[in-house]
């Protein structure tokens, strides 16, 4: 009887220890090519010149901003970076009297292949974002939508969380619809 009791006690202790050893499964990023950070998506880096980006995505961009010398200074183009669709946000640079240079100031994607280093991606919820960036400044709030040409209204379903670097130079933006991530973006922070 005493032996049986000792045996059960040993089994209980063994399984208790096993239970403690079990750790929360760490989310693994499936493809390192599509890791997004505040600096961009892998080789697609914020701050690149448009010629460098064209080479990287193997696509010639057709900017309205360059065509119209008087007006536009920003432009958006769609491109394919490896296997994912991306929106690329460019801004005209006025350096050394050469205003033909466009600089990449933002990149956005809705591809499920794209994730942060800690594995946050499409479909994840707000609660997964904050613990991953406790050391960073964060702004979060509802997004605004254009009701008409002159009026904007607070969205009831769209929300965003923006994780900044310490200098508030760059940000990683999580866009939500109905509390689920629908796109990820990296961008330069534009001054007021």
């Amino acid at each position: 009887m005493k032996n049986s009791l000792l045996f059960f006690l040993a089994v209980f202790v063994f399984f208790s220890c096993k239970q403690k050893d079990k750790k929360e499964p760490v989310k693994k990023v499936e493809n390192a090519d599509y890791i997004i950070s505040k600096d961009g998506i892998n080789e697609l880096k914020i701050g690149m010149k448009h010629t460098e980006v064209e080479k990287l995505v193997n696509q010639q961009f057709n900017f309205n901003a360059i065509k119209d010398s008087a007006g536009y200074w920003q432009d958006t183009v769609k491109a394919k970076y490896k296997e994912i669709e991306v929106s690329l946000y460019f801004e005209r640079q006025y350096m050394d009297d050469d205003n033909s240079i466009m600089q990449l100031f933002g990149v956005e994607t809705s591809s499920p292949l794209c994730k942060t280093e800690s594995g946050i991606g499409m479909g994840d919820e707000k609660s997964s974002v904050l613990p991953a960036y406790e050391e960073n400044p964060i702004t979060m709030g509802p997004e605004y939508e254009a009701v008409n040409d002159t009026t904007w209204a607070m969205s009831k379903i769209k929300y965003s969380i923006s994780v900044k670097d310490d200098k508030w130079d760059k940000e990683l933006i999580f866009h939500f619809v109905n509390k689920k991530i629908v796109s990820l973006a990296a961008a330069l922070i534009m001054g007021e």
Binding site: E135, I138, T139, M140, P142
Partner: protein
């Protein structure tokens, strides 16, 4: 007769409770009866004190922090202006009596604030020990709740280990007019 008396007692107690709550309500306008923008005369009358400036007016200094008591509770008042005309720019407390209208106060946890203010702009960051090097204090977090109707007004919560330890009302640091 007894019922009427009980009803009147209930009404009286309710009115007293509401009045007491209002005395400690934190809003974008201030805390209780202390409202941002109040000048020297109004502050001195409300708080029954004589404000003696030590910093404002010295050189180009335009702000000063003073300690005061409001209904027996220690408060910090942030004054801004020049010697002749200064006003209350901000106020802070660590008293558990003060709460927002949504019940957020000392001891509330970070997640409750985030969930409660889904329709507002929240700015969250670790407290900076040194602004220049951006060195942070690990257990201390600042949550700034910016007024959705005017981003320059804020309620600022200081948290230690994700629990509120101090509340401040004042201008949103990230959108200060004068900087």
């Amino acid at each position: 007769m007894k019922k009427i008396f009980l009803f009147l007692c209930f009404v009286f107690v309710s009115i007293c409770a509401t009045a007491q709550n209002n005395d400690y309500t934190v809003s974008f306008e201030g805390m209780g009866a202390i409202k941002l923008g109040m000048n020297k005369a109004k502050l001195e009358k409300l708080l029954n004190l004589k404000i003696l400036l030590k910093e404002i007016g010295v050189g180009v200094v335009m702000n000063e922090t003073i300690k005061a008591k409001y209904m027996g509770i220690d408060m910090e008042l942030y004054l801004f202006g020049d010697e002749k005309s200064y006003f209350l720019e901000g106020i802070s407390t660590t008293s558990p009596l003060f709460k927002t209208i949504d019940g957020i106060g000392i001891g509330t946890d970070q997640l409750t604030i985030i969930n409660k203010y889904e329709k507002h702009l929240l700015i969250i960051h670790p407290e900076y020990v040194d602004e220049i090097s951006a060195k942070t204090s690990k257990p201390r977090t600042i949550i700034t709740l910016a007024n959705i109707d005017n981003y320059r007004e804020a309620i600022i919560f200081t948290l230690v280990n994700k629990k509120v330890v101090a509340i401040e009302v004042g201008p949103t640091p990230q959108f200060r007019d004068r900087e």
